[in-house]
Symmetry: C2
Subunit: 343 residues, 2 copies
DNA sequence: CTCATCGTTGTTCACGTTCACAAACGGTGA
DNA sequence: TCACCGTTTGTGAACGTGAACAACGATGAG
């Protein structure tokens, strides 16, 4: 009897399925069917529901859906140093691919280097009930921590550790380093240094391995690689130190930034690249073509990496077989490398 | 009577609050109280619950919580080109601050330049029921689209558009550009070009404004700025074109990458920086100190920007007052700028 | 004419949590 | 002894969606 119409200022909340259903004169289940594109709906009914949705500006409630299906439709990315070009480009590609497949993406980045920071980052992702994990934090410690947690979800790592049981996908770092090293050897260099990345980075290790393997395959004398931190700043200081000896004619740097710093130091030392010293980098960041001199480097297709990564993850979201794929890097020859001076 | 114990392979799903409650011998509500750190719980009970949680490896179900509280505890970031250093650094800082405050972060990046892409990106974020939005996509079109959607949530933009009613926070681009320009004028340059960013980027516009304002304030002759696309590649080609006239002694580039390309072109043209032409950039990306010559540029503190941005967002998540803050940029003098040659 | 079948729609429940409220408990003062 | 109070704990109802199942009308076969 006293069933009054709703007052003007009804509870201000987002419209739900029931609101749509009421407006369209159907049950909420019918609305659900329309949303999920299920068969066996009369065309006219479907259209009426769609109109109602439009009119109310209806948006499915993701939380409710996640609750009932126990699927979050979210992919987690674990990353270190996303300001670097490589990881950033990969993240971009992963996000695009994930979005295209209807997945959302959350990232957690590891700040600092203590292992508690790693655990916290992973925890944040798990709190979000991610359905898959992409690891772009290519440090040993991260993988060890991850292995210790024995997570029950598909994991794709963007660096092959060689030891893990997860899927992994990577640009073949060893091959890349071999290409760079071989290039220098073929130019006639005999005394080549390697400025490597931080010790516990898997990529750094792989590049170092590639360098050492190629050098010994070709019977070249090797010196111990210098361990850097990826920054141009470090490359600069390492360069100043190296110039004291001058017992080399070429340096293979583990990334383009360090190569940039090296070239800076060499010029500051009164020498010239590539006349006195040849430099080869790694990554082919977009700026590398405009360094002075333009940098010879090894190109990695980060975007392709990200795309394939998502394909792997989505494909194997239920299946669980292992897989390891690799993408081939290519050598980009520019002005920073040349035959050594004949003295 | 026939109440058998659970069989071995019980339904494999994550433990819920009820499981914890049963193990601890309390009600689910008590568990909830422990989780949310509410008062009036006996210490002993609390400990028993915590132990049970630990034992079951319990994790609160975020979806269920979001459903009942209608709070997603998620912040959305709308971004373009996250591979650039500036945006990437900001995102990083925002994520850190958000995590510290218990929020998760999702990003959506605008691929392509059609306005449908913008709408889609925003839609993706809204689907996630974000509680706040940070916009790092500094294009007019994005803001126009955003304004047209009249969203009911706190928005912080990392670029001041000057016209919006939202909160905004930015490094003072106009001041930065003025600093750069003034620096060149004070060195004695009179004929200065500006290599600007893409036309619909707000930052590009602001830097151009700063440049033009400073030039006219100091009664310098001005030429129309050249509109670039932020890339080193474009800087290079613009440089080659400009060298045909040589009616200038300095160029202020709207970012460091374009400055890098310019310097490359100038050297290719047989001239020297800064002897023949002075160059000033903008951003102070980490590599800029190691360019050849090291680049004079304007530093923006992106990390600070990200941090303040989150403070603003979290502070105003319920309040709704407007606010516009700005961070001061600083000029970093390096080797790429010097007094013009006296001819 | 009756019954089985198929396409379409509705009803009810469950998901895991928080909120509002009620109940039990122990202590205190009249 | 009893009413009252504060602290601690439990009960039941939501939140919005999808899944299982039931119900309905129309159609066709026997």
């Amino acid at each position: 009897m006293a069933q009054e119409p709703e007052p003007v200022a009804k509870k201000s909340r987002a419209p739900s399925m029931h609101d749509v259903a009421r407006l369209a004169g159907v049950s909420h289940q019918t609305v659900s069917r329309v949303i999920n594109d299920l068969p066996n709906i009369r065309e006219e009914t479907k259209q009426r529901v769609l109109d109602s949705m439009e009119q109310l500006q209806y948006r499915p409630n993701r939380a409710a859906r996640a609750l009932v299906t126990s699927r979050s439709r979210t992919i987690g990315i674990l990353t270190a140093s996303r300001t670097n070009y490589g990881p950033a480009a990969s993240i971009q590609a992963i996000e695009d691919a994930a979005n295209a497949a209807g997945y959302a993406v959350t990232t957690a980045s590891i700040s600092g280097y203590e292992s508690t920071a790693i655990v916290r980052a992973i925890d944040r992702l798990l709190d979000q009930a991610i359905e898959g994990l992409v690891v772009i934090a290519p440090q040993r410690r991260v993988f060890d921590t991850l292995a210790g947690m024995s997570l029950r979800l598909p994991i794709v790592t963007l660096q092959s550790t060689g030891t893990d049981g997860d899927k992994s996908l990577s640009v073949d770092q060893i091959l890349g380093a071999r290409l760079a090293t071989r290039h220098l050897i073929e130019l006639g260099h005999r005394y080549i240094y390697h400025l490597a990345g931080p010790q516990d980075w898997i990529e750094a290790e792989a590049r170092m391995t590639g360098f050492l393997d190629e050098m010994s395959d070709q019977d070249m004398p090797t010196t111990a690689p210098i361990l850097g931190d990826w920054t141009a700043e470090f490359g600069y200081f390492a360069g100043r130190e190296l110039l004291r000896m001058r017992d080399f004619t070429a340096i293979f740097a583990a990334n383009d930034q360090m190569a940039l710093g090296l070239m800076h130091a060499i010029r500051d030392g009164g020498l010239e690249v590539p006349r006195d010293i040849s430099i080869v980098g790694f990554d082919d960041i977009p700026d590398a073509a405009h360094f002075w001199p333009p940098l010879t480097t090894v190109r990695q297709d980060f975007a392709e990496l990200g795309r394939r990564c998502m394909a792997l993850l989505l494909g194997g979201l239920e299946a669980g077989e292992e897989y390891a794929g690799s993408i081939l890097p290519t050598l980009i020859e520019r002005g920073s490398s040349a035959a050594p001076q004949t003295r």
